[in-house]
């Protein structure tokens, strides 16, 4: 069955330090992987996606993510965190073998960046 896990409910990091938000997935076929961010009282915003090609994908606001097929992971990273990065982050997976109709979202990881 298709699933996605975000093992950390919360990640705390100091401003200027690198950040990582973890995501692992399980699908039967080839995955399409996404990261979204949700700021308070706002809808989700797309950050980046992996479909095929280079395992390191770059997205909005300086974020990047690395697709690791052997570890079935798609961790979100940023070299230097900003206080304004504090938000709720969701990993999502789409199983393309099943026609890619359904996207499954993780439970979310809350990122706190301290000044």
């Amino acid at each position: 069955a298709q699933s996605v896990a975000q093992p950390e409910d919360q990640v705390n990091v100091a401003e200027g330090n690198p950040l990582t938000v973890k995501c692992t997935y399980s699908v039967s076929g080839n995955p399409y992987l996404f990261w979204y961010v949700q700021y308070p009282n706002r809808g989700l915003q797309f950050l980046l996606k992996y479909i095929t090609g280079d395992n390191l994908v770059k997205g909005s606001y300086g974020f990047e993510a690395e697709f690791n097929k052997s570890q079935t992971s798609f961790h979100l990273k940023k070299p230097s965190a900003l206080v304004s990065d504090s938000a709720l982050y969701f990993c999502a997976v789409r199983d393309m073998r099943r026609g890619g109709f359904k996207t499954i979202f993780g439970a979310g990881t809350r990122l706190f960046v301290k000044a």
Binding site: R42, F46, G108
Partner: protein, 112 residues
């Protein structure tokens, strides 16, 4: 480019009452999604439309929830009658083909 529009932004109703939410997707996006997001959880897909046809409604509580997208553009999600556990944020999103989804601001529903 205009984003996904949703209304109302907030709604408070009593249990057993009915409520309707409206969504207008990004122009040209064939796929429209309705999600339920309960506090502290990730979005859960309720129903997915491709143009005006239903692609997936496996998690839609069909005894009380209904949705339509008559002309393949905007959509309405209805709850009748509402229960306390329906209190959540209802998100509408749209996408073209298999690309990323674009979300509206959501409707926060409180059932008392």
């Amino acid at each position: 480019e205009a984003g996904v529009a949703q209304s109302p932004r907030y709604k408070i109703i009593e249990k057993r009452q009915s409520v309707a939410f409206w969504c207008n997707p990004i122009s040209g996006h064939a796929t429209l999604y309705w999600y339920q997001q309960i506090l502290g959880q990730g979005p859960k897909l309720l129903i997915q439309f491709q143009n005006n046809g239903v692609v997936d409604d496996s998690q839609l509580p069909k005894d009380r929830f209904s949705a339509e997208r008559l002309k393949g553009v905007d959509s309405t999600l209805k709850i009748q009658p509402a229960k306390l556990e329906d209190s959540a944020v209802y998100l509408c999103a749209s996408s073209s083909e298999v690309s990323e989804q674009y979300f509206g601001p959501g409707t926060r529903l409180t059932v008392t």
